[in-house]
């Protein structure tokens, strides 16, 4: 069927008559818009009707702000929509609640509108965190500040809870990062970007400087608000703070590849990263920077336990200076000024995609040197004693252990490296897991990877993949292909849990567990896992992609 014919046929399908429904929709839509009144600006009306004096005062303040401040002048194009948003000092317009927010404590400390008209509110709140029910010994009372987009249905915004007691002074400048404008996250080819953050008590002005693809710098209009005096007390803040918001037009951001250089879609869990020429150039420059500077970083093992900030800065000094010299600079720079106009802090938005450190510039330390001490693995609260299921060494000599632990989340099976940082695994109600042999015809599967190809560059120079095997499997062969497509056997270690040891680890049935190490040079190619019986018979074969 041709597309044209299909279109014709679809258009010909008799749709049910829906005249009544249409008229009802018309009436409801009219009622909806009429309920907002008849003034020229629907946003202004609701507020003025409820708070006439407040509206007048807000209008005066707004005019002053608009006339006196650069962001105000810049924002005047959408000034009509600044009035009527959840009022400063009042509750947020959407009765916002979070998991840890104390009910009724959230108030708006600043508000405004993006260039596309979507409205934002900076909200301060009191909060409490209690993770004891989740087995984590954390419970405190605190405060938080978050940027909300009341009319945008999105996961954007979020928030945090910071412990009030013993809280250090807030840093002069905290960037909450750059985001795709929530109202344009989907369906907009070149979305505007929003830049936001908070400032400490000494900051009286913020500059956000944008460096375009050709290196030209220009100031972006910034909506900076200081929260002090009565508003600060109302917002339960122990000291003055500030908030700032700036916007980068979508066409500029697209031209200069800002979203991909900062990996905004991928950071939000959607979309794929597509680097352009600027991003690729920065990545190459960063790779070179890592090669030149990584060896200057201090060994974590040489640092004292819980080092102070100044101790860390001293230790990192040589590496920091080297990185400053060789690494690419981000497109956004923030400067915080005190009341005398002096710069008290400046920072660059990190280039996420360029700063992904190449694994081959990280020293693998999983193989112990003479005098090295075995690390102690912190015990999961509420867990029983650990039982080591399998231990061995990667091809470069890094020591690993797979251990089992019964926790409140079920049986956890994890790998860790006694002489290096890194590790992880999975937990579940059953051992072996219900999907150890896959979902499709598991009875025909004899050995199968469980999870993905893993990379622990701080521990070993190899990647690894692990999985389960049936009790009758005597050997697991793992074949990967090198960059030229030639097949190679990976070193594999296989351990069996037999019926006699089942009780010790609370497994439901006997099983085998295997791990294979694959060099990083293998690339993104298919890996073949073949199971063999004791007599050499080939039992079955599985494929997986070598994508870390």
């Amino acid at each position: 069927m041709s597309p044209d014919l299909l279109k014709e046929r679809l258009a010909e399908i008799p749709a049910p008559q829906a005249v009544h429904a249409r008229e009802k929709a018309v009436l409801e839509a009219r009622a909806e818009i009429e309920a907002r009144g008849v003034s020229e600006d629907p946003l202004r009306r609701g507020m003025l009707r409820q708070h006439p004096l407040l509206g007048l005062a807000a209008a005066v303040v707004l005019v002053v702000v608009l006339l006196l401040t650069p962001p105000g002048r810049a924002a005047s194009a959408w000034v009509g929509e600044l009035v009527g948003i959840g009022d400063v000092g009042g509750p947020p317009s959407q009765g916002w609640q979070g998991r840890f927010i104390k009910p009724g404590t959230a108030i708006v400390i600043d508000n405004g509108a993006a260039p596309d008209g979507s409205r934002y509110e900076w909200v301060a709140y009191r909060c409490g965190e209690n993770l004891r029910s989740e087995g984590i010994d954390t419970k405190f009372e605190g405060i938080g500040v978050a940027l909300q987009w009341p009319k945008v249905r999105s996961e954007e915004g979020g928030g945090y809870c910071e412990e009030l007691q013993g809280r250090p002074h807030a840093p002069a400048l905290t960037s909450n990062g750059v985001h795709i404008l929530p109202s344009q996250f989907k369906g907009v080819a070149k979305p505007d970007l929003v830049i936001e953050g908070t400032t400490g008590p000494r900051v009286h002005r913020i500059r956000v400087v944008y460096r375009d693809g050709e290196g030209r710098r220009r100031d972006l209009p910034v909506d900076f608000a200081r929260v002090e005096g009565r508003l600060r007390r109302l917002a339960s803040q122990p000291e003055a703070l500030g908030t700032f918001v700036a916007f980068l037009p979508g066409d500029v951001a697209a031209r200069d590849e800002v979203a991909s250089r900062l990996d905004l879609r991928a950071l939000m869990g959607t979309g794929t990263l597509k680097l352009g020429p600027i991003g690729r150039g920065e990545r190459a420059q960063a790779r070179e920077g890592f090669r030149k500077c990584a060896h200057l970083e201090p060994n974590p093992g040489d640092l004292p336990p819980n080092p102070s900030r100044s101790a860390m800065e001293r230790a990192m000094g040589p590496a920091t200076r080297c990185y400053d010299r060789y690494m690419p600079t981000g497109p956004l720079e923030y400067m915080a000024y005190d009341e005398h106009g002096r710069v008290i802090q400046r920072m660059n938005e990190p280039l996420v995609t360029a700063m992904v450190r190449p694994a081959d510039t990280i020293k693998a330390e999983g193989r112990e040197e003479p005098g090295d001490k075995r690390r102690r693995l912190p015990k999961e609260t509420g867990s029983d004693a650990r039982k080591v299921l399998m231990s061995g060494r990667a091809p470069d000599g890094a020591l690993y252990e797979f251990y089992l632990e019964q926790t409140k989340y079920g049986v956890c099976m994890q790998i860790w490296w006694p002489y290096a940082f890194g590790g992880g695994g999975s937990c579940g109600p059953d051992l072996p897991p219900a999907r150890a042999y896959g979902r499709r015809n598991p009875e025909r599967v004899f050995a199968k990877p469980f999870g993905f190809l893993s990379d622990e560059p701080r521990a070993t120079t190899s990647r690894y993949i692990s999985g389960f095997a049936r009790p009758r499997v005597a050997r697991v062969q793992v074949v990967y292909r090198d960059s030229r497509g030639r097949p190679h056997d990976a070193p594999v270690q296989l351990a069996h849990v037999t019926a006699s040891t089942l009780g010790k680890i609370e497994a439901s049935e006997p099983f085998g567990f295997w791990i294979a190490f694959i060099p990083r040079s293998a690339g993104h190619r298919q890996i073949t896992v073949t199971a063999y019986a004791g007599n050499g018979d080939r039992l079955g074969e599985q494929f997986t992609l070598a994508r870390p």
Partner: protein, 188 residues
């Protein structure tokens, strides 16, 4: 080069501007202008006359309520259609969780007042074949072949690469063709 969104008619931009200012007449004009396509799209996706009415009504109201958030530089129709399609898919997912309701459409929709006087065999076949597609596939077919969006537009609307849209569409059309052939065999 074809723009991603169709350029809206000048009078539509004017209607939206007036609607934002609170004009009920402008809102009525927008609802009437877009009702048929929205309702037909909802019906072809959910295959339930009552639900299609509700979905189209809700989508219209949602659009009116959010008209302040709507970017005036962009056309209204794709925005509305996305609301319709998303709500239709939500409705199908919710219905899938209620096993007592049959998903299969085997004949004229219950309770529907069908405008066509004579039964249209071809349309019935197509309707039954459509009903057997996955909801997401059905939505893609409707958006592409009824509403007329091209793959890059659909990709942007659904946040997936255009190539993925093309692949899924091709798969859906192949399946639709097979289902239609099966329907035709049944008929003979």
């Amino acid at each position: 080069m074809r723009p991603w969104y169709r350029v809206p008619a000048r009078d539509e931009a004017s209607l939206i501007r007036q609607a934002r200012r609170g004009s009920a007449d402008a809102v009525e004009a927008l609802v009437r202008r877009h009702w048929d396509a929205a309702h037909r799209a909802a019906f072809l996706i959910v295959h339930d006359a009552g639900a299609a009415e509700d979905i189209a009504q809700e989508a219209m109201l949602a659009a009116v309520r959010s008209i302040d958030c709507f970017d005036r530089r962009r056309p209204f129709k794709p925005w509305l259609h996305r609301i319709v399609v998303n709500r239709s898919l939500d409705w199908l997912r919710a219905r899938a969780r209620r096993p007592e309701v049959s998903v299969e459409v085997t004949g004229p929709v219950a309770g529907a007042r069908v405008e066509a006087e004579a039964p249209d065999v071809l349309s019935d076949e197509l309707m039954r074949a459509l009903a057997q597609l996955d909801p997401d596939e059905r939505a893609l077919v409707v958006m592409r072949h009824l509403l007329g969006y091209r793959s890059p537009e659909l990709g942007r609307m659904l946040d997936m690469p255009a190539a993925t849209v093309r692949t899924r569409l091709a798969r859906a059309i192949t399946r639709l063709r097979e289902l239609l052939e099966a329907e035709a065999r049944k008929g003979t």
